[in-house]
Subunit: 568 residues, 2 copies
Amino acid sequence: MKFSQMFIPTTKETPNDATLPSHQYLIRGGFIAQTGAGIYDFMPLGKIVLDKIRAIVKEEMDEAGANEVQFGFVTPLSLWDESGRSLTMGNELLRFKDRKNGDYVLSPTNEEAVVNMVKNRITSYRDLPVHLYQINTKFRDEARPRFGLMRGREFLMKDGYSFHSNAEDLVREFNHMEETYKKIYTRLGLEFRVVEADSGAIGGSGSKEFHVLANSGEDTIVVCDSCDYGANIEAATRKANKKEKLETIECEKVHTPSQKSIEEVNTFLGTDSYYSMKAVIKKAVYEEKTEIVVFFVRGCDELEETKACNAVNALELEDAIEDEIIAAGIVPGFCGILGIKEDIQVVVDNELQGDNNLVIGANEIDYHYKGFNLTTLENVVYKDLVAVQEGDICACCGGKLSYTKGIEAGHIFQLGTKYSQAMGANFLDENGKTQPFVMGCYGIGVSRLVAAVIEQNHDEKGCIWTKETAPFKVDVIVSNAKKDEELEAGMKIYEDLKSAGIETIIDDRKKERFGFKMGDYELLGFPYAIIVGKKLQDGLVEIANRKTGQKTDVAIDEVVQKIEELLK
Amino acid sequence: MKFSQMFIPTTKETPNDATLPSHQYLIRGGFIAQTGAGIYDFMPLGKIVLDKIRAIVKEEMDEAGANEVQFGFVTPLSLWDESGRSLTMGNELLRFKDRKNGDYVLSPTNEEAVVNMVKNRITSYRDLPVHLYQINTKFRDEARPRFGLMRGREFLMKDGYSFHSNAEDLVREFNHMEETYKKIYTRLGLEFRVVEADSGAIGGSGSKEFHVLANSGEDTIVVCDSCDYGANIEAATRKANKKEKLETIECEKVHTPSQKSIEEVNTFLGTDSYYSMKAVIKKAVYEEKTEIVVFFVRGCDELEETKACNAVNALELEDAIEDEIIAAGIVPGFCGILGIKEDIQVVVDNELQGDNNLVIGANEIDYHYKGFNLTTLENVVYKDLVAVQEGDICACCGGKLSYTKGIEAGHIFQLGTKYSQAMGANFLDENGKTQPFVMGCYGIGVSRLVAAVIEQNHDEKGCIWTKETAPFKVDVIVSNAKKDEELEAGMKIYEDLKSAGIETIIDDRKKERFGFKMGDYELLGFPYAIIVGKKLQDGLVEIANRKTGQKTDVAIDEVVQKIEELLK
């Protein structure tokens, strides 16, 4: 392809809201253009990258035995009523009416659509398993679309769904998909990590996320420095943080004037925050109500909100304001597990189970209890609520846990029968008995990967595409295209590279100077450039390596061979 | 691919509303599944066909020098306000609000989006021409979605847009696209015709349609039996139908009791309907009003409604009811050009221009005029209004015109500056002067082509895919897959064909009988089947040709070579 014949509108201007490098460079490089909040057009170079990623995903999915399909992007709301998600998906599910007042949605995901496709078309265990996937546009009406392609509203996603006659076969496919996904990210040239994950709104049990490691990642990933353990902090666990057990003492109410925070109370009482219960008061949002809930973790721990949300089966948690807390009969700053009204849900972190001699709020202004023994209470609900901290101990191997940042680029779920049951999608098993399909689902954020590649691979000058994702592998830069000999030499190299099957673009623009072309090359991030300039008279051109910045003189007739070596 | 590992849910049931063969067979063959009115999922075989057509379109568009892009499917309504089409597109433009009450539409076409992409990014004539295209989902909220993929609401379309610095360059690209489209339809193995067309809602001047010839086509195409002339009846012209001129006589009002129709009047008066003016009264719909309009054509001609609509610049024409006609001061059945109120638009067909001695309505119950001389009237608006009839004479060559039926599968337009001017999209020309871009646009109905191939290629048993569109070229049918020797021989042939690069599927299903497999093969319409059955003991298999129904015995080791010959 020739620069002169391709629409590559690079610019020096960065959009005001573009904080991430990928957002800035993809806009500046003319890869994408914003047309609305969270909605992007792909311009020619961006489209090539998107298609390359898409092609790799397709190849590996086909190789893994999945069948590609395509669901309607517009789906009737009635399908979402069948599954119950028309109620639970909230505002992210964009609904609209057609000219006949029919209710439709823009598909944000397709569990309902795939169950609808398979239902009554597969009726026997003999036709299972089946794995159907598509790579198609999705729309999620995010409250805060941001970060360019990273968190858009309209995006391209690969979503696959498998159907099985039993849970064992689902686990087999789940593991097969984990391996398939690893191949995909490896082929894309990405550093990534597979981690344990929370299952979120999709539901089901057992899920793993695939994170592209990058400082700008929105997700905090907990990883072990000794073993393979990795988990999203939303799902991360640790070896319980256990200090020595104190002796049991008499529980006693103590005056703690104006000592509200855990730090204040423990400093005031001379106690260790480890031996205290910290209350975190939230509003839990359900389909048809919102209510105050109270979580207790150790004074030295922090609440992990996703875990807390799951613990009370809420759609989401919101911050509770003081008036609401008081209205619920709780004394802010002095909230303890004793004296909370019976109709308020209370959940205590697993690690506090069995503890004695604790400092807790007395639910009375300026008072706490000390020496409280948690084992004296019955019917306490214990769940895993803590946010794993850096330095915590790995539950798998005893190694040290630390944080890293990741961009979620894939997620696989063991759904089980949640959707098949809700939608009455059944098959006959070996014994002629009706059973709901056992399902898995598997997603990859294809357009998000375009951005993720750049988040992981860029410098202060622009993009650095990996070999598999680069729109072109080589940019032949003709220093001065008005000089016939330079243009001819450049064209010869360009044709030779193309003949060798190497994706090449030639910067043959006559109106642009060399410096401008180099700037474009660096911004656009092709892996290699071949600079055809003054050294031509000595039969030499320069090969530049975008990643290392290195430049090497090469004899013209060795260029193809040299590039082939570099691309290996 | 193996039948046993692919989701191909064939069925004997035909949907009630499926009148077209393509609709019936695509559903019965498990190619597509309906999920809502005019909304279809593509199942694995359908997806393969869709992608094959898509790939051919992409290859030829790239080869023609166009750059592929991807526009957001959701576009802000504000873009449509800029062009003015938010008012003129009517209900087909599906509008909705997002969670923040912002106005958006589902893109039915992308003139606005492409102008928005190019505007301010191309600023000089030196960067022109540019041709951008995409192959992406569209949504048109059709009043009556029907005929399966033929007239869906959600569909896949290739839409391309070219930008030029002058009209000559647009014509060059327009012709280039005509040739490119011909290549595409030829590669798809289709019989097609390029015809003159009406430009419709897209606007602009000069457009051509590409019709796949099929009896079930919704469009009537006028073709010449002697030359290349072809036109959609909406735009078709003919050599004026001229009988000898009568002598001019005195105009005289005559009593024609209850003689309302042209036939009645002319029989009653003993005149030739050729020498009479037929009134066709319609309601013209405009953005903000609806009004009665009157068209006159010869008594022996028929009004072509699209021409009539264009003649009065209306959005559409509706039938006028008697009360409305009377309210407009017109006497139904006796409407003539004399005595129509001045504020009513009247258009007369070109071919009547200069005529004398005509029979016309008197605008009075039971009266007509005879001997009316049209040349006595001033300020008459003449336009081409007639529907060309079979047997009319070709204006190009004098040959005979006839009708054929076509499925519109492509449309190319010379848009001119309609959109660039409305949206203020300009460039600087050679003289440094600001000019609006001169534009062309070019569409291909990709998902509609899936159906069009079948409309043109089917029999009473099912689909007959062309070689380029078939999901697999060969179906290896193992008569009884429970017999090891048959299954092994089939697998060997299957592997050999795949190794030779021939797309092959093997019907290795153990639970299905031979007759069922043959039925599926015929319904699914793979070009060739290789039947592995009883003749195996003689070292033979049968090759079946889906189109001709012919079956030939072939020695097993000659199968690949034979198939390669057939596919040439």
